[in-house]
Amino acid sequence: MRLTRRSFVSLSLGSLGLSATGRASRLLLPQGVATHAVNAQPKSAPSGRPFNAHFTDIAAAAGLTAPIIYGNPTNNDYIIEATGCGCAFFDYDNDGWMDIFVLSGTRLEGAPEGATNRLYKNNRDGTFADVTEKAGLHDVGWACGVCVGDYNNDGNEDLFITYYGQNKLYRNNGDGTFTNVTKEAGLLGDTTRWGAGCTFVDYNRDGHLDLFVSNYLQFDVKRVPKPGENVNCTWKGIPVECGPRGLPRGVHSLYRNNGNGTFTDVSVAAGIVSHRGSYGMTVVAADLDEDGWPDIYVACDSTPSLLFMNNHDGTFREEGVVRGVALSEDGQEQAGMGIGVGDYDLDGHIDLFKTHFAEDTNGLYHNDGKANFEDVTRIAKIGVETRFICWGAGIVDLDNDGHPDIFYVSGSVYPSLEKRLPQYPNKNPRTLFRNLGNGTFEELITEAGPAIAETHSSRGCAFGDFDNDGDLDILIVNLNEPPSLLRNDIKGTHHWLKLKLIGTKSNRSAIGARAVIHYGKKVQVQEVLSQSSYYSVNDSRLHFGLGPEKTADISIRWPSGLKEELKAVVADQLIVVKEASGIIPSQGFVEGVTQKRSIR
């Protein structure tokens, strides 16, 4: 019985066609990450609409001049050198101005001079002062992610930093200093692990922030193969650092806050560990199905991303695949790294944006309100860009027109590749997709200022208003270079509103608090998050662009379950809302005008 030979041709063409049109593995990418590869969709004609945000990198002028050391800048032998780290906008001294915290790594041969995480205090004049030593945050190691939250509800934001090695919890002492309380908090590990993303989350709604930590993989430099040693250590036929595929996967952890400054590992009891390992990266906690309980989403590299749905009883069930956020639209694994969170289509439901590897699109996932997601990447015209390996991201309104945009950063993991394959440069420009308001986006490169087109090998990024001028600025981690601080100078007359929430019965940081605002005929939702983007932390003040609208109605749902309504809040101000107390005076912004409130 002879098998038809058309089978090879059509099979090969089928494979070729399948890969060309975006499905199944393509043998052109036999490297350590997921072999899912798609082609970019054609770009539409430019809308011609002006974009009122304008970004300029003022990092040097602001005093952010210390390079972020992370591995060998020209050639990586191991994956530990490639994945990089995050950053944070957070107000460590409660003066109403966003300070900056930037993580750092080291080098295999040893840490060079100046390699350390850094805390920069906002001088409120466009500059920052390095207060790392004074704050007690000097540390050298392979730092990865940062999450911010007031775990002891003392009114001061604390820091949790993940490392390859030992994660660290720093308690904010409220006096400008931090203390490493990892051991006394019960978070000291007994083995070396690769902590990746993290989030503070009050998963049991007892008013205390618990902690979820993802782990990337099990790594031992003595055992990991060298570049080129096997198929997981080559890319396009060129030897590169191995992994993550082929290396043992990480297992994630959930720690319950005992309310007394200590944590208990409840990973097993909560059903987190029962799930088989994956290469976990950024973690986001948000109430995706709007049942009042926070869920946890983990972007995973080369393995299905995870969506842990809260069962309300201290346990979680993992439903990423069935809910459409684990795999690509054609059911393939992707290299999930960063997560943007926002309501891009203004339907009152939180959508997700996940960043992926080169020759793949990033993924925009539309939420139906019940945590069933639809991959709308191509419909939204996000699929026009597949050139870069993408990391930190946000669904954020950068021009205050009332429609959240998408911004992300990128950078190669194979710095030496560009010598042999110049079409894969180490440093890449930033990417900004402005929201056209009709469910689609258009890519802007030069229209949003010179800082967008500048090229770096970037990883984490954070969004925040460091100069308190009513727009969102961007802090970016650049490997082996100083960070970028993109100051946003908005033109035009669009209005905005910022919301700072303070819990009382709920956790003090108000992580998990949900704000839905109505402005004109539009509605938008945001939640206070502990981590998003790539291993990074945004300004916890929720920023809403309002477009032409001058007032907005705000509905707040606190993690405790309390709901508050604020009517006709005037635009162009920061309002601070304390749980059950309404609006209270704020610092750093001009006080708002009169508003109405009601409490349910």
């Binding site: 041709v9 090969s12 060309a20 043998l27 069935v322 059911g331």
Partner: protein
Amino acid sequence: MTQRLNLALALVLMVLLCSAARSQAPPDAPIPSARLEPITSALHAQRFDQAVQLAAEAVKDFPRDPYLWALRGVALASAGNFKDGLSSFQQALKISPNYIMALRGAAEIEFQVGGSGAASLLDRLLRLRPDDTVAHAMAGVLRYRQGDCRGAARHFEKSGAILDSQPAALHAFAICLTRLKQVDRAVEVFHRIVSANPENQQERRLLAAIQLIAHKPKEAVATLGPMIGDGVPNAETLELASSAFEESGDTPSAVSSLRKAILLDPTNVNLYLDFAHISYLHQSHQVGIDVVSEGIAQLPSSASLYLARGVLHVQLADYEKAEADFEKAHEVDPNQSLSVAAQGMAAVQANDLDRALETIQAKLASKPNDAYLLYLQADILSQRGAAPGTPEFQTAMRSARRAVALQPTLGEARGVLAKLALLSGQNQEAIEHCRKALEINPKDQTALYRLIQVLQKTGSKREIPNLLKRLASLREQAATEERDRSRYKLIEGDDSSAPAKP
């Protein structure tokens, strides 16, 4: 067939020697043994002409005895006079319509000569004797010839061991089981064929081919072993062995077998295509290109070889060379559309969806009913992000539907159609096409994932847990297969194209 008839007649003879057949016939008057025994003795001694004469005389005296008419029929048929033999049996059936011996005799003659009455006679016989293995064997063959494999297999199953002496029937049985996708059972049946005919190389090759279809490559290797190890294998055997070796993970032997086959039969297109396939699987594209080029030198008019080489060029991102090969394939054989499809897909791979669409649509203008091109058009439009409600989306939908109508087994087209249906909220249609795609290819992860999505969307969640397990299992399997494939790369050296571990 003569063998088959002789066997049947021998069985009839045995029945004759038993009194049972005789007792079934209700004679008007008892026939004396003295008249019967000479006839049966003559038949037993194969003195058929004598038996014919004796039987003819007997039926003159006892014209209403169906047994005598049946004996006459046996005698005539045994003497080679099928026409009169059939008439005799039919006469017996006029007297006694359910007379087993006559039914069987008539059925066998009709079967032997290809008469149209065989099927109905066998049906009547089997109604009366449901366990008649001979009748089942013949009915099975008839059904097989009519293309009714399901019916044929049912009869063959009831034929029992009689098939072991009927290689053609056994062969038909095995083929039917294969067509019915009961490959494990087909393997068992082919084993019987080979056991009965161990020297028959063709049957061994068939068994090995079925074993490969049943994903039992090691057994296929063992089956072919005697032909490769001791004898002088031919190119066809070596080609099959190559597939078996490759599937069992022994790429070095696979490549070696294929090389030998090519040396034996250098103008066999299929061998070069096989080599190209192995090269593709093992990411050794340049080696594949070099070997296919050797094939093109031998067979400069083979469109398939240009196509295959073009595909390999695409894998190396040599789009210009690929384009040249696809053009050449088209020039050599303008009637086939695969070269245009390949050009379109190469354009897609080079990140030029506009050009890809143009290429495909240009060809569709002259070949509007090419299912593969229609599928590609639908898929490219979908990849461009055609949104539901737009003219592009409607074109995509129409194309995909037409592709499926033209070629229902084109799984990829069903996949695209399912995707488009899901996007436009036509959930039931999406479910239908996902299921069909999975019937065509049970390993289609995309179809399985999409089915999960649409079931979740429609709230039909009962199946989902099992589908999720199946998807997880398929992913593990795919990962394992990829790891296995990655164990070897083909390199060119002194032992040309010898595979080596990377």
